[in-house]
Symmetry: C2
Amino acid sequence: MIRAIAVDIDGTMTSEDRRLDVAAVEAVRMAEEAGVPVVLSTGNVLAFAEAIATVLGTSGPLIAEDGGVVFDQRSGQEYVLGDRVEADRGLEALERKFDRLEQTRSSNLRLAGLTLKRAITAAQAMEVFRSEGLDLVAVDSGFAIHIRSPAVNKGNALRKVASLLGVTTAEIAAIGDAENDVEMLQAAGLSFAVANSHEAAKKASTYVTSGSHGRGVAEAIDKVLTLRR
Amino acid sequence: MIRAIAVDIDGTMTSEDRRLDVAAVEAVRMAEEAGVPVVLSTGNVLAFAEAIATVLGTSGPLIAEDGGVVFDQRSGQEYVLGDRVEADRGLEALERKFDRLEQTRSSNLRLAGLTLKRAITAAQAMEVFRSEGLDLVAVDSGFAIHIRSPAVNKGNALRKVASLLGVTTAEIAAIGDAENDVEMLQAAGLSFAVANSHEAAKKASTYVTSGSHGRGVAEAIDKVLTLRR
């Protein structure tokens, strides 16, 4: 029995232009009304996730920073699953090697890692971390270079969410579209990749929806709620 | 000619439960598609306003912290119209007088003031500010006690927004519902209070919509766009 639904925001609930799809908003509210808490998941900072949860009315824990942060909306407790201090050490190592590195505007709000403007490649950063023995990875999201601990991913965050909700990950359905959703899709009991998904997200999922973005989310949530009846 | 529309989020675009009204979302997007930038306005922090602007797709400058902060989305420039340092001095003065004062969770994200949990009244705080000669006001929003400079209000913020957009405030329409929207409604060339508005907001407005919350916003935006044709 599915007892919670984890939904990626970026590219899944939103279109290419980053706008929320109204179909997804309505589906998410239908899940909440049916007593199934929705867990919003994003690569963005916690303040972003909190704002979206507030205006959508989702009650489940929040996954931010690609799994680096989990926030329990009921208790107000934040769980940092990454290591900002190690990421800052990584930045120092990069600054010794490269000029003109700049953090993105939201980087100072990050608790579990940091984000750099794309002046260097992820591979260049990884090379420095390896040679310095730093326990860090660099990932290019297309918007920024994310510096974080290798253990940070949405799958590990989903395990934390499950324990906060008192359910197993097998009782959680997940909906996503991107490579950074793969671990979450694999960890969930039932998983959906929306039609616009990256091939890796499709391969990691039980179902691929016929609709893209918000219509795909609505389709997936409808399936989950139908199966509960 | 109305060239921009400023809309309050809290209680205007959202219902009592803080959820965004889909009717308001669609109306705001219609304005943007008609080439009329929408200016979101909130008592919340800038990170909240930015998140909502991103997922709604509004392009106008943002008003956060009840006018204490204006953010130009085009240039990425933040304008702080309040004084956090003075607010921190106010907090120190209050702490000398009262025990167990606690800032709200988002207070550390505030640039132009701060917010306290409601352990003391706004009147008690005002009394301390007066006796210490501090240039501060305390306002009870129902959620928190806001400490900020007296000059901070959404009307002054709207004047800043107008200059950023290169229009006059007479060319801006404003939509709101609460006492903290009054200065913005008065400063705007055309103003709408949604049906659920506080009496003061209704008195400050050209029109009171027949619909509440999001339906009121849709009604107001429809009027503005019709008048442009």
